[in-house]
């Protein structure tokens, strides 16, 4: 049962990712990416990471994708990526290169067995355990995150300002 659910959600994630990459229309790609992010949120839930599942929905599917959709609507009138591609042959090299990368990833992952073993006790992924880590061991990176977001905010305001 759990396996069947995993494979269904994984298939949805992979199909949505392929849709993002292969569809020409950018807004369709953005909607496919939302589906993919939702599927990954479901997978987080099955892994026991409840906090991350909801953070994924709120931060990615909520905030970041709205930003993307706005940018696409502002920048791209109708269809795009039409016309002949002058570097088509080079771009098609991406498929064998990608296959090679995938094989390499699989070899690395298969070689990395060992460690604590899969019989380790399941960890809680609720807000309590994450917050316990974030405010003790990872307190400094957590504060740095706030500085990073502030810097990003100031930088975006500077970039988006109209030149006078």
């Amino acid at each position: 049962m759990a396996h069947a659910a995993f494979f269904v959600v994984a298939a949805i994630a992979v199909v949505a990712a392929l849709g993002l990459v292969l569809r020409r229309n950018a807004i369709h790609g953005a909607l496919f990416l939302v589906v993919n992010l939702g599927a990954i949120a479901v997978l987080y839930q099955t892994l026991g990471a409840e906090f991350l599942a909801w953070a994924q929905v709120i931060v990615y599917a909520g905030a970041i994708m709205v930003l993307f959709v706005f940018a696409i609507m502002v920048l791209i009138p109708g269809k795009e990526e039409t016309g002949p591609d002058p570097r088509r042959a080079w771009r098609l090299l991406a498929f064998p290169a990608g296959a090679l990368l995938f094989l390499q990833l699989i070899v690395v992952v298969r070689g990395a067995r060992g460690g604590a073993g899969s019989g380790a006790p399941s960890v809680g992924g609720g807000v309590e355990s994450i917050a316990g880590l974030l405010f003790t061991r990872y307190l400094f990176p957590f504060e740095l995150t706030s500085v990073l977001l502030l810097a990003a905010m100031v930088g975006v305001l500077l970039l988006a300002r109209r030149r006078v």
Binding site: V14, V21, A26, N36, L148
Partner: protein
């Protein structure tokens, strides 16, 4: 219980699709979305490894990755909008100003 290796395999598939997307697409917005796909694949692997090891540190790292991804998306989209104002076209092939 589904073994962690399945999740890591799915993560490898999604990461590869993201890499291919960055290479074959000409639209910088779609390239950005492919980068988000890669970040998500890495996040999925982190959570899966975290469950295998048996602590929540992987999930804390994923939290930081999400924050960095949010900052990256905001700054990247602002840069794309600024370039579009300047050039009126949106294709990475035109952007060779900083090429050596």
């Amino acid at each position: 219980m589904v073994p962690e290796s399945y999740y890591v395999g799915l993560s490898a598939i999604l990461f590869t699709i993201g890499v291919v997307g960055v290479v074959i697409r000409r639209n910088p917005l779609v390239m950005f979305m492919s980068i988000e796909l890669m970040l998500n694949a890495a996040n999925l692997a982190l959570v899966a490894f975290g469950r295998r090891v048996g602590n929540a540190d992987g999930q804390a790292v994923v939290f930081f990755v999400m924050a960095v991804a949010a900052a990256e998306a905001a700054v990247g989209l602002a840069i794309i909008v600024a370039i579009f104002r300047l050039r009126r076209r949106l294709s990475v092939d035109d952007l060779s100003l900083m090429r050596w």
